[in-house]
């Protein structure tokens, strides 16, 4: 049994009290004295040349303070990209400029053209409508394959084409992979679309910029998952503000799912304008604006082929993917379809030959970047759909085919450049079969059929690479930053503790889970420990929260800093008890001398550190505060097996998820309640992708799904209760907590099993359909049933 409030305890979340009583502090709740409001005039066409921009009438409108256009940003840096991919010929990707406000051309609906700053939000909005803008329409480039044809209109005139890069991975595998296909006993081929999604955290983005002329320093309040990354990118690349003059604060943030990782133009604008006008400037996105300005997710078009020998062993896997970058490169966009996707194409299977080709393409759409899972859902969906199709073609049980090809020995070096440290795919599949009640399916199907419904069962596995990431490795792969993290443990004189962490909590419950770790290590009440995050002026450094990295990377830094605290505290305790440091034992908040009854309490030692009247000042400094930076040795590799059971109404094509089960291996668990919640949420988003969600543009580049009226978010009545289990635990071998990360698993692991279940249901009804693209909407299912 875990200790109360220690590692493994399902401690209730302390942050809930403020969220439940309406006393959270989200960015839009922050108002800086004297603030003005900005409204952005955005392009309503997907591609065009700005031939006229007249702000005179708008400038005379009530309350208008100043109107900014692209001219005001000549000489100011553009929004940078944080990752450079090298193509299959060894050449760097094509990297276009990304201005804060449009410079002569607009490249997607929503591209900001001008910014009106006024005394009130309404006045800014009213005045924006009075700006006269003339745009000469240019043909919009929407389809990725058409964008790559000779003579296609170019999104960026100064680039040679719309191809960002053509990437081969691993290029040296190509010949052997092609040869394995030549000699295969069976080849299964599948063409599929992993549709564009919108992350849609419930809190829209907000940014408030403030400037203090006396100190020439800036403060940016922003809805960010990583305030230090924003400080770095905006300070160094856009506005030229040194770190010590720029504070970035991300207070309570209402969800992120990736979309709040990136540095956005609006953040740079409010910071720039705050100095230019010597007034704080606030921007609050509307939801409609979020749909045309938040980076979007997925949008891959893929052909995957799986080769098998006569005994149904996988011998080779080959994929070709077109990945949509949108009109500009968002912060981490190039790494999503490459290093977060190609490296995972082995899945859970010992396929010896794998070759991945990815063509990244510019189109006249909102930029695409990481969304929950980021590359790994796209990899998992392809692998697990093509395996299911192969099983049906070969008339073998899909679970048996997977089991036969599982990796069973660890560490395992894949043909796509990563080494899985631990895992037990047989155990998670065994657990899944139990919690999904596979044996009871036949009876449930019979019952559905009695009611005139088709019932299907679908299963899939997943592997992901989390704990992003070893800095030297990602640096070699093109990352323009290190991906370590940092923590400072500040022990106060009375023994209470503030832990300043570089991770950022926007739903993950760090304020509860992180103290559980420190409390366990020190043997003290977790109520004595608070977490501080989200403010660059208070925390040492941090790369933030994404890629299921917080506990694996920042948590490891926190452990290292706490170990330093214990080491120093032992020295103080030894002095207080006039004993040798080597004889000091520390347990349950008590320092004792081995083999004696001498002991001092935690509070005695912390007080001595700050009131050093009797203290080894010649050996150690007063005070008790330690910082650690932690750079992981490898990625972590959570894995699992998921199952979905659907009913299909043959009259309407409507799919209902009747049961869903998830068996995950996250390594060690700090707070099982929070872990369950993370998996539930991921499954909800995965079912959303499988059945409901799709970001749709028309041929001219107009976004047809620009609000919750058109973009189908999953609602409470679209999903069932989920059976989740994380009792299979193979601890990570290279971080001190043995944790792997759980934030993205649900979204990665759930879409394939839903689609596999729908195909199973339809085939049980005699339909010959082998694939339906997501979202598996009633109309698509109904059309598939018509043959």
């Amino acid at each position: 049994m875990p200790k109360d409030g220690g590692i493994g305890d399902a401690t209730k979340r302390r942050e809930d009290v403020r969220f439940l009583s309406g006393t959270g502090n989200y960015t839009d709740d922050i108002n800086v004295a004297g603030q003005a409001y900005v409204h952005f005039l955005r392009s309503d066409v997907a591609h065009g040349k700005i031939t006229g921009l007249d702000t005179a009438a708008a400038e005379g409108m009530p309350g208008v303070l100043r109107i900014f256009t692209g001219k005001d940003f000549e000489g100011v840096g553009g929004i940078p990209c944080g990752w450079q991919v090298t193509d299959k010929h060894g050449e760097p990707m094509q990297e276009p400029a990304h201005p804060v406000l449009a410079q002569g051309k607009v490249r997607h609906v929503g591209d900001p053209i001008a910014a009106v700053v006024a005394e009130t939000r309404e006045q800014a909005r009213d005045a924006a409508e009075a700006i006269e803008v003339d745009i000469e329409d240019l043909p919009a480039v929407m389809d990725m394959k058409a964008a790559l044809e000779d003579g296609a209109p170019k999104v960026h005139d100064d680039l040679s084409s719309n191809l960002c890069f053509d990437w081969g991975f691993v290029e040296d595998n190509k010949a052997a992979t092609d040869a394995a296909f030549e000699s295969a006993a069976h080849v299964t081929t599948l063409e599929l679309v992993n549709q564009r999604l919108v992350a849609n955290p419930m809190e829209p983005r907000v940014a408030v910029g403030a400037y203090n002329r006396a100190g020439d320093d800036y403060t940016l309040y922003t809805t960010s998952q990583n305030p230090h990354v924003i400080r770095l990118l905006m300070g160094a690349f856009v506005l030229g503000i040194p770190e010590h003059k720029l504070t970035v604060i991300a207070p309570d943030v209402g969800g992120g799912f990736g979309s709040k990782i990136y540095h956005y133009a609006e953040e740079a604008f409010v910071t720039f304008a705050a100095k230019a006008m010597n007034r704080p400037v606030k921007w609050t996105s509307s939801r409609s604006e979020a749909f045309i300005s938040d980076a979007q997710g997925r949008d891959h078009v893929t052909k995957i082929e799986l080769a098998l020998d006569a005994e149904n062993n996988f011998t080779a896997l080959r994929t070709e993917t077109y990945a949509n970058m949108g009109a500009y490169l968002s912060t981490f966009a190039p790494c999503v379809p490459t290093y977060l996707h190609g490296t995972l194409m082995a899945g859970n299977y010992k396929t010896p030959n794998i070759y991945v080709n990815v063509k990244a393409v510019f189109t006249n759409t909102v930029p695409v970047d990481a969304y929950r899972g980021a590359g790994r859902p796209e990899a998992t969906y392809q692998i697990e759909r093509v395996i299911d199709k192969a099983a049906r073609e070969l008339k073998v049980d899909p679970i048996a085919l997977r089991r036969q090809n599982f990796i069973t020995e660890f560490p395992y070096a894949t043909p796509v450049a990563v080494e899985y440290d631990t895992g037990d795919y047989v155990a998670t599949m065994d657990k899944l079969e139990e919690i999904a009640d596979v044996k009871g399916f036949a009876a449930r199907r019979a019952e559905s059929e009695k009611n005139g419904k088709l019932r299907g069962f679908g299963v899939n596995c997943y592997i992901e690479a989390c704990g992003i990431a070893p800095s030297a490795l990602v640096g070699a792969l093109g990352a323009r930053a290190g991906l370590y993290d940092a923590a400072t443990v500040r022990v106060n004189a009375t023994g209470s503790i503030s832990v300043m962490v570089g991770a950022h909590s926007h739903g993950q419950g760090h304020e509860t889970a992180f103290p559980q770790v420190v409390a366990e290590m020190l043997g003290i009440d977790p109520g004595m420990i608070d977490i501080v995050h989200g403010d660059t002026s208070k925390i040492p450094f941090g790369m933030g929260t994404y890629g299921s990295r917080s506990l694996a990377v920042c948590g490891s830094a926190m452990v290292r800093a706490t170990e330093k605290i214990i080491n120093k505290a032992k020295k103080i305790a030894a002095h207080l008890m006039e004993a040798s440091e080597a004889d000091i034992e520390f347990k349950d908040g008590q320092f004792s001398v081995a083999g004696t009854d001498k002991s001092v309490a935690w509070g005695d030692v912390t007080l001595a550190a700050y009131v050093p009247h009797n203290y080894p000042l010649e050996e150690i400094e007063p005070g008790l505060e330690e910082t650690a930076f932690y750079d992981p040795a490898n990625f972590t590799y959570p894995s699992g097996a998921y199952a979905c059971e659907v009913e299909v109404d043959p009259e309407t094509g409507k799919v209902t998820v009747e049961r869903f089960a998830a068996a995950d291996d996250f390594g060690n668990i700090i707070n099982p309640m929070i872990v369950d919640g993370q998996v539930h949420g991921g499954i909800g988003q995965g079912i959303g992708q499988a059945l409901l969600e799709q970001c749709v543009y028309d041929e001219s580049g107009q976004l047809l799904t620009g609000s919750y009226m058109d973009y189908a978010m999953p609602r409470a009545d679209d999903v069932p209760f989920y059976a989740v289990d994380h009792s299979c635990q193979t601890p990570c071998t290279h971080n001190p907590l043995g944790v792997k990360g759980c934030g993205e698993a649900g979204a990665i692991g759930s879409p394939p099993s839903v689609v596999n279940a729908v195909i199973d249901a339809l085939q049980s009804g005699g339909h010959t359909v082998t694939h339906i693209d997501m979202p598996v909407s009633p109309s698509r299912v109904w059309q598939a049933m018509q043959g």
Partner: protein, 161 residues
């Protein structure tokens, strides 16, 4: 500018408004009751649900001027004066019915209104009543469970327990 007066969380509240001022804007900007959130602009997400004269209302869908003389309760008015959470709030904490917290005020206000009308709702009735409230974090599992628990139901037998 016209004035509006109403009772908010048991206290009189008066302020100047424009005709177009929404109730949610009046609550957040004039009264600084920032617990009520705005998550969309099409009355879909439900982050702004408050109670107006005992009914659950999306505060982005009603003008402040329409609430002249009304009794309004927001999330800030749900706990006891000493901060003790009410049964719906407490059930959300006990069952991890929130993550980022942004949709939470609307969820709690909607759930409280449901239980007022239907003290013992079925799972299906709860899911149906929540159609106007979007949560992106929880997959709804623990929200539904929390509401069942707030209604005094045994939640130990649902999936995964």
């Amino acid at each position: 500018m016209p004035q509006v007066s109403m009772t908010v969380n048991g206290k009189p509240a008066t302020g100047e408004i424009e005709g177009r001022t929404l109730l949610v804007e009046f609550l957040r900007e004039s009264l600084h009751l920032t617990g009520t959130h705005v998550g969309c602009d099409t009355s879909q997400c439900g982050a702004c649900v408050v109670h107006v004269d005992g009914r659950d209302v999306k505060a982005c869908t009603i003008f402040a001027a329409e609430c002249e003389g009304a009794e309004v309760t927001t999330i800030e008015g749900m706990a006891a004066d000493d901060g003790t959470l009410n049964k719906v709030q407490q059930a959300f904490q006990d069952h991890h019915g929130l993550q980022c917290g942004f949709c939470t005020p609307g969820m709690v206000m909607t759930a409280a209104a449901l239980l007022e009308k239907n003290p013992n709702p079925s799972e299906e009735e709860i899911r149906s009543y929540l159609q106007g409230n979007i949560c992106r974090c929880t997959g709804y599992h623990n929200i539904v469970k929390a509401i069942m628990a707030a209604a005094g139901q045994d939640t130990s037998k649902i999936a995964a327990e």
